[in-house]
Amino acid sequence: MSVGITPGFRVTRAGPLALLQDAGRFGVRHLGVTQGGPADLHAWAWANRLAGNEWGRPVLEITFGGLELRAECDLIISVAGADLSARHNDQPLPLWRSVKVGKGEKIKFGTPVKGLRAYLAVAGGFSAEPVLGSVACVAREQLGGFNGQGQRLAEGDELSVTTPSRNSSASIQTEAPQQEQPDYAAPAILDLLPGAQIADFTGRSLFDAFNAEWRVDDRADRMGVRLTGPPLHCRIASMISEGISLGAVQVPSDGQPIALLNDRQTIGGYPRLGNLTPLAASRLAQCQPGQSVRLRAVGAEIALQKHRQFVNRVR
């Protein structure tokens, strides 16, 4: 299969943090290589869908805004996720729908209004050489991204795109259904699948874990998000290090939970309440510091069903 690769955008202003993300880096976690991939799987998947792409194409994850791009050719794009005051030339850029952008036109992200991370997909997908099977950009590991070295976007970067195949534009869904567009400013309820150490927390702490309002701390990044609230007490202080899966909610000795996201370390030794579902982890990744969230225990069967339904809707 031969695909064309052309310059798609020029970065005219980098902003604080814009990263290339495909679905993530898999099959290498036993080597200490983290998962990477989109912090908000839901918005990332919709961005691809609305650009007419199949699941998994590389997308820009723009955190906090500030990014400015100039189109180097005519493109079809879509932006899903956070409202970062995006503009298309001098007009507000509509979110959750496909948009035509002409050569020389500008896309500018401002400051966050709702949510934290916007996903910009382009028809055909951004193009970069995979490293360890993925282009997911993990700065800490110096892996992935446009140059393979884990670098965030920088001013002057030329962003290559894969020319979309001719039949793909016909299948474009132009707008995401209203119910797929979350209100990120609303209080979030996060589904959590209880894990093995749940029984080692005291009864009071179990009540608090699932009934307290948790405040999203400003110590939050792609590795994890700290929650503050009533201190949770666990009979286990620390454990022998073991593999940590996405969404694990670990509780260090200060009793304040940390939900671990895509760039978490691969092993760790704190007791855990359980795992946020992938959609709950996505939702948390859009919470601004100071927002409140609640944890809701969920059964494995319902959690799996919800996840499969989401993938079927967007795939």
């Binding site: 080597l31 200490g32 894990g195 093995a196 073991e242 899966s245 694990a248 092993i267 799996l304």
Partner: protein, 244 residues
């Protein structure tokens, strides 16, 4: 596998199971863990996403669109019932890591020597004499936690981690030893530097070391270290340990 209630299967999200085999760290754990890892690869096949072995556990991550937790659980129960540990003698690839032990690249050699009441040469002998096993990889790509260190060398982590540890640095902390594959922050005691390329994105398998492998640090002089591609750039010496 004599601990009460073990082995045990613990839920780890919609796409994972934690297989807990042991309650304590023992070298023999690895014989079971490497065998279990291999059996899982074979049995789960295409629906398998990742396997993360570590000290006493194996985390199994599967694709929840191709299979589900109940199917995988049944497979794991079956595997555990038939599990036979690897042979104690021959298992695990042996790696010899050419290591230049010198205060210029191992700024904590003096501290370790003082703490252990041994000469620097005795510390080097004790560290390079023994063969180590890889118990886990983590912290950064290709970072292997190895052990178990001779009791005489046990030394706590630094109170304040260094912001930048040079790649190749050979280090000890508690009962473990490791070599830093890349420049990262680090709180372990640095005693030397290896010329070995521990993580290479162009190499088949990427990481030189894998869980269950055996490692020996081989003392080389500066000349050999440089010939094998080692970077002899000295480290800034640590601030003197404050005594109260």
């Amino acid at each position: 596998m004599s601990h009460a209630g073990l082995p045990r299967l613990e839920p780890a999200g919609i796409d994972g199971w934690m297989i807990r085999l042991f309650g304590t760290i023992e070298e023999n754990n690895l014989l079971w863990l490497t065998a279990l890892t291999r059996d899982c690869e074979t049995a789960i096949g295409a629906a398998l996403v990742d396997l993360v072995p570590s000290y006493t556990t194996l985390l199994v991550i599967f694709d929840p669109l191709q299979t589900n937790a109940w199917e995988v659980r049944a497979q794991l129960v079956d595997i555990l019932a038939r599990l036979v540990p690897d042979d104690a003698g021959g298992e695990g690839e042996l790696h010899e890591l050419a290591t230049w032990y010198d205060p210029s690249v191992g700024p904590d050699l003096a501290r370790v020597s003082e703490r252990s009441d041994m000469t620097i040469n005795a510390v080097i002998d004790a560290h390079s004499y023994q063969e180590y096993r890889v118990f886990a990889l983590g912290f950064s790509p290709g970072f292997a936690f190895m052990g178990l260190l001779d009791d005489s060398l046990i030394c706590p982590r630094l109170d304040t981690p260094r912001a930048k540890v040079p790649s190749g640095s050979v280090a000890i902390a508690g009962q473990q030893t490791a070599a830093y594959p890349a420049v990262t922050p680090g709180g372990w005691n640095l005693i030397g530097r290896t010329a070995a390329r521990l993580f290479d994105r162009k190499r088949d398998g990427f990481s030189l070391l894998k869980v269950g492998d055996r490692v020996r640090f081989v003392t080389v002089d500066r000349h050999t270290f440089e010939n094998e591609g080692g970077d002899p750039t000295p480290m800034a010496q640590p601030a003197k340990e404050t005594r109260t």
